[in-house]
Subunit: 345 residues, 2 copies
C-alpha cells in the first residue's frame, strides 16, 4: 500500500467549494502521520467557464490523470446553460477515466430524519453503470427549433460494458452478509438493452451460487424504495436508472446531505473520482448551511478505494456517532460539522 | 352528449380479470337509467398468446376502434417472455390509438396508509406523454448474445408530439385552483430531447401567464415526491420519466391499489383507454385480494372523458367516503370493495 496520496481537488461550484474544505479537513485528521498527503486544486466549473469558456481543457485532463484520485465538490450553476458543465466537465471526467462503477451506498444512520414513517432499516448500495446508457451523448436534433423538429437520445449498451459492472456488483454482493443482488431495468419496454442486461446478469449469476438474485422493473423499484427499502442489499442498474434511484435513495435515508458516491475505475488504469451525490445548491451557497457529511463520507469511499480501510471505517463510524449524539435542536454550520468529525476520527 | 356507451373490455391477465368485474359493477350502478351501456369483452393477454400466439391481431385492433372507450385490467404474466405482451398488446394499443396523454392523478385519500411520515397533502396529476420517448421501439441489437453485442434504445421526441402534450398539461393546470405546472426532464444530460422539451414548454408558457411554471430534473423530482409532494399540482413529462414517477406517486399516496390512469386521445380520432396503474400481480390473482379501487377510479376518468362529469365525481366521492369510513381492522375482498362502492354511488 502506497504511503502517500496525491489528490486532485475540484471544488467546483456553489456549496462544492465549502464542502470540499471539510472533506480535506477530515482527510488530514484521519490519515496516519506517515502518509504524505499532497493536494492540487483545479479551478474548473462555472466561474472558469464564464472567464475563459473552458470546461475541461486537454492539458488539465492530462494532468488529472496523474493523481491517485480526485475529490470533487459539485458542478453546475444556473448562469451556465444546462448541460454545458455537466457534459463538458463532470461526465467528461467519468467517461475519459472510464468510471464504469458509480458506487452509491445508502444507509439510514441513527437519529437522522427520513420522510418514511416507521424508520425502516435501510442499508444498501447501488452499483450504477457509469459509462454507457443514455449518458453517452449519442443522439441529435433535426430541424432544431422548427415545428418539424425531431430530437433523439440513444442509450448505448454493450456486452463489454454491462458485464463488467454486473461482475463488480456480484463481487460486492458476495462480500456482504446478506449476499443479495437485485437487477433493476425496464426490460418489458426497453427490450434490446433489457435483454442484454438480463441475459448478462443471469449468465454471471451462475458463477455466484451463494448470491441470491432478483429482478425489478425500475418503476416497481421506486415503490419498494419507499415501502420496503429494507429488502435491498446490492442493486445493479444502468446509468440513468441509477441516477434516478440514488437520488430517491438519498431522500429516504435522510437526505442528499448524507449521500456519498464514488466514480470508480477498478482496473486502476485511471484515477477514480469521489463526490457527494448532491449538486451545487446555489440557493444556499456561501452561507455555511451546507452539510459536508456527504463529501466526508465520499472521502471514506476514496480511502477504501486506495486501500486505507481502517481510516475509511473510522470516518464512517465518526459520522454514525456524530449523528447519533447530535443535538437535534440547533443547526450546525458546515464548518462546525467538519470540525466535529475531524475531532472524532 | 351521447346517451349510450359502447365499451370494449379487456380484462387481461391475473388480477386484471377480477378488478374489471368490479369496475363494470360500479359503472352500471352509477349510470343514469337512460344511458344504454353496451360492453364487449376481448380475450387478449397471456392465455390467448399461449393458445394462439396472437397478441393483438389486426381484426381485433380494427374492431376495438369502433368502441367509445376501452377498459383494461392488466397485462402481463411471468409465463410470457418479458416485452411480448407489453409491446405487442398494451403499447401497441397506446400507439395505434395515438394515446398521447397518459393521465395519472395522484391523491392521498383520507384514512389510507402512506409510507410517508406526517401525511403530506398530496393532490397532483401527472400528464405523461404516451406515444414517444424511449417507448417507440426504435433500437436494436447487434451481434446479439456475443461478447461484442451492442444494444441500443432510441428515445424519439418530436416538436409535434411534445407540443401537444405540453399544451394539454397547460390547459389542465389552468383549470385547477393552484394553476401550477412542473416540467420534469433531465435536460442537463439528455440535451437534445431536453432542449426540445424545455423550449416547447417555455414557448407555450407564454400563452398561459396565469399558470406558474417550474422545471425539475427527474432525479430531483423523486426527492420532492417523498419530501414535499404537496408542492406539485400538474406535472408534464416524457413517457419513461412519467412511468417511473407515477409508480412512485402511487406508492406515496397509499399504494398502487388506488392509482388510476387514462390513455387519452383528446382529438377523439380513436377511443381512449382506461386502466389501473398496477400490473397483473400473478402472486395474488384469483384470491379475491386485489383492490379494485384503482380500476373503479379509472372508470371515473373514463366517464369524465365521455362527458359524464357528475357520474365521475360521484365515483370519486364514493371512494373518498368509503376509504374515510372503512374499518382499518379487517381486509375486504375484491368483491366486497366493489359492492360497497356500487352501493355508495
Ligand atoms: C449532474 C448530473 C450530470 C449527474 C448525473 O446525472 O449523473 C448527477 O445527477 C449525479 O447523479 O451525479
Ligand atoms: C407494463 C408497462 C409496459 C407499462 C409502461 O411502462 O408504461 C406500465 O408500467 C405502466 O406504467 O402502464
Amino acid at each position: 500500500m502506497s504511503r502517500s496520496i496525491d489528490l486532485a481537488v475540484i471544488p467546483g461550484d456553489g456549496i462544492g467549494q465549502e464542502v470540499v474544505v471539510q472533506g480535506l479537513k477530515v482527510l488530514n485528521a484521519v490519515l496516519p502521520q506517515d502518509v504524505k498527503l499532497e493536494t492540487k486544486e483545479y479551478d474548473l466549473g462555472a466561474q472558469r467557464w464564464h472567464r475563459t469558456g473552458d470546461t475541461l481543457p486537454d492539458a488539465e485532463l492530462e494532468a488529472l490523470k496523474n493523481h491517485d484520485a480526485l475529490l470533487l465538490g459539485a458542478i453546475g450553476d444556473p448562469s451556465v446553460p444546462s448541460g454545458v458543465l455537466e457534459r463538458g466537465l463532470l461526465l467528461k471526467l467519468r467517461f475519459a477515466f472510464d468510471h464504469f462503477i458509480n458506487l452509491r451506498p445508502s444507509k439510514l444512520f441513527p437519529n437522522t430524519a427520513t420522510p418514511l414513517a416507521g424508520r425502516p432499516d435501510i442499508d444498501f448500495v447501488v452499483v450504477r453503470e457509469g459509462t454507457e446508457g443514455p449518458y453517452t451523448g449519442n443522439g441529435g436534433s433535426l430541424r432544431t427549433g422548427t415545428p418539424a423538429e425531431v430530437a433523439t437520445e440513444v442509450s448505448v449498451n454493450t456486452a463489454y460494458g454491462v458485464e463488467r459492472v454486473v461482475r463488480d456488483a456480484f463481487e460486492r454482493a458476495a462480500a456482504r452478509p446478506r449476499k443479495k443482488l437485485t437487477l433493476v431495468h425496464k426490460n418489458n419496454v426497453l427490450v434490446y438493452a433489457g435483454h442484454l442486461w438480463k441475459n448478462t446478469f443471469d449468465k454471471v449469476a451462475a458463477e455466484y451460487p451463494q448470491v441470491s438474485t432478483d429482478y425489478l422493473h425500475v418503476d416497481a423499484a421506486t415503490i419498494f424504495f419507499v415501502t420496503q427499502p429494507e429488502r435491498f442489499d446490492v442493486i445493479v442498474t444502468d446509468n440513468l436508472f441509477g441516477d434516478i434511484l440514488t437520488d430517491l435513495a438519498a431522500a429516504v435515508t435522510g437526505g442528499i446531505g448524507l449521500a456519498a458516491s464514488g466514480n470508480i475505475n477498478p482496473t486502476g488504469a485511471f484515477p477514480s473520482m469521489f463526490e457527494p451525490v448532491h449538486g451545487s445548491a446555489p440557493d444556499i451557497a456561501g452561507q455555511g448551511k451546507a452539510d459536508p457529511t456527504a463529501t466526508i463520507l465520499s472521502v471514506a469511499l476514496l480511502l477504501r478505494h486506495l486501500g486505507y480501510d481502517t481510516e475509511a471505517t473510522r470516518i464512517e463510524d465518526a459520522v454514525s456517532a456524530d449523528l447519533a449524539e447530535r443535538d437535534g435542536g440547533t443547526a450546525r454550520t458546515t464548518d462546525e460539522i467538519g470540525d466535529a468529525l475531524a475531532v472524532r476520527v
